[in-house]
């Protein structure tokens, strides 16, 4: 009896050791030996870039209604639920005032036009994202090939460390089942809905870029929002950045946001 118990404990110990060592073994073992190599290549029409960036010409938007098409198309495309309870709100892209979008530029007297305009805010897909640094499971990560800050909804443990880390308030948490905030008839079957208890945010329409389409908000903006490769000096965004004076949100934090605003 006693010896069998001892044997069991010994076996359990060895098993636990093996399990514990697995990540270490994975890290040390050369990639080729861990199994067949899977290579992902972009589709034939995919739009590619080294670092996607967005330039929003705020001069083109004068009243909050002007921003509605962008917000609506984004939230419809990605099945972003609507909740009337303020605490459960999910937003990927939304409208705010100058002083809320740029609280670090507290000029008391600024141009009336600039102050009264509505401002679109969304995830900045930072070059140096604090949310990615904070995430304990790599559920949020910066995609190597094009710099999009993405979410793996199946890995997220819902600790909300990324929400505390984001200095732009760009992240939302599914406090309740998001499907209860969606109208079944208006759902987009091409994009997955989320489950309760995970964090979500703007993904720069990674799913549309993969099939050769620009982000949904860019498409409906009538040219007021430009989208392109920040690392390509000949791209549309770099052209606009050369020609216009732009600002970014909280650039003093060193996150290098990739959403620029022409004011």
């Amino acid at each position: 009896m006693k010896s069998s118990r001892r044997r069991f404990i010994k076996l359990a110990g060895i098993a636990a050791l093996g399990l514990g060592a697995q990540p270490a073994i994975k890290a040390i073992a050369p990639a080729a030996q861990t199994g067949p190599q899977v290579e992902f290549s972009p589709g034939p029409n995919a739009l590619t870039a080294k670092q996607w960036a967005m330039v929003i010409d705020t001069r083109r938007f004068n009243k909050p209604e002007d921003l509605e098409p962008m917000i609506e198309v984004c939230h419809k495309t990605h099945n972003v639920p609507h909740f009337s309870d303020k605490r459960h709100v999910i937003k990927w892209i939304w409208e705010t005032h100058f002083h809320n979008a740029f609280p670090d530029i507290p000029n008391r007297f600024i141009s009336e036009a600039a102050e009264s305009r509505p401002y679109l805010v969304l995830c900045n897909h930072c070059e140096n994202p604090p949310c990615v640094r904070a995430c304990p499971t790599k559920a949020t990560f910066k995609r190597e090939n094009d710099g999009i800050v993405m979410m793996d909804m199946h890995r997220c443990i819902g600790c909300r460390f990324c929400m505390a880390a984001c200095p732009y308030g760009s992240r939302s948490f599914n406090f309740v089942d998001p499907r209860t905030g969606l109208n079944e008839k208006e759902m987009n079957p091409k994009y997955p809905t989320r489950m309760m208890g995970v964090v979500e945010k703007c993904n720069f329409c990674a799913e549309r870029l993969a099939v050769g389409q620009k982000p949904a908000c860019v498409e409906v903006s009538n040219g007021a929002i430009a989208f392109g490769d920040l690392s390509d000096p000949n791209s549309e965004v770099r052209h606009l950045l050369r020609e216009n004076f732009t600002i970014r949100r909280k650039q003093n934090l060193g996150t290098e946001p990739c959403v620029y605003y022409i004011v």
Binding site: R87, I90, R133, T137, F161, G169, F173, V198
Partner: protein, 385 residues
Amino acid sequence: MLELAIKGSKSYWIWIVALLAVIGAGFLLYLNQLTVGLGITGMSRDVSWGFYIANFTYLVGVAAGGVMVVLPYYLHDYKAYGRITIMGEFLAIAALIMCMLLIVVDMGQPMRVANVFLYPTFNSVLLYDATVLNGYLFINLIVGWNVLQAERNGVHYAHWLKPIIYISIPFAVSIHTVTAYLYCGLPGRGFWLTAILAPRFLSSAFAAGPALLVLLCLFVRKVTHFDPGKEQIQSLGKTVAYAICINVFFFLCEIFVAFYSKIPEHMDHIKYLFAGLHGHGIMVPWMWASMSLMVIGIILTVNPATRKNETTLAVGCAVIIAGTWIDKALGMIAGGFVPNPLHEVNEYVPTLKEICITLGIYAMGALVLTILYKMVVGVKEEVRA
């Protein structure tokens, strides 16, 4: 030794059953949270951590505070503490179990908790926090259990324990340092972005932990035949007095830096807590209560006359526990998240359900502590007889 915990008086069993009832109620509410989501709490996309994480932070401090009896005994050979080090270690175990439970109930997808170790992410402070908290829990279990067992058998504890005991001291400091790093490394959260956050956490921990130990010692003396000792309680009282003074001093340093530099990002959170911002000021009475309680605590513990009187010492310790709890649990979370990154004020109030779930976890901690202390008292009484 566990058999010592199943022999008790009627009131002991009434206490155990009462705790089980609270745990059961909390568990049922947690099942509700699991099905409906964290929407049953008062948290929002602006205040995305709440009562759970607030109490977690506080209890990490209580766990770390146990080192204030371990260190003098093992490093300075302060013999008097030999009688109560076990109480510090077992308090740490109960506090850490509560910490783990609070983390789990705060998670949106608790069944994925293993992801933290399956995909270890070395740039995330959370991995280190999980590691040191678990490490400190096991160290205290091993040390506490073995030392108590040795005492029961009337022998000196095994020599291999000594290095583990020494390791436990930096570990205690590390658990609260790393917990502070969860907050103070985040850009754009002006209230937390201060190098003094970890020292502040430690000073309040070294006040609150020993203060709780004083109350526990007084309680144990009253209801059992084991007397933790007058000298021991007095020494703990002095530790509390120093630590609470340092804690208030650190806080005043924060106030000076924020309000002399006049940087809005740093001032606004403190203004919100102590005066209200844009007409929102739910925290104001709490924060002033916290400050008053800590000042009363300083008066009662620093003044030799009131420290030497065990009744006033107990009052001093109780107000320090309450004051530091408001400061570090409620204030730390509300102050950090309000105003939000867009400078909007959305306040947070915990719901009854989340308070009850937290109470269930506190009851769990009390149950663990009761069982462990029952063993301690049992062994001490046995040895004396």
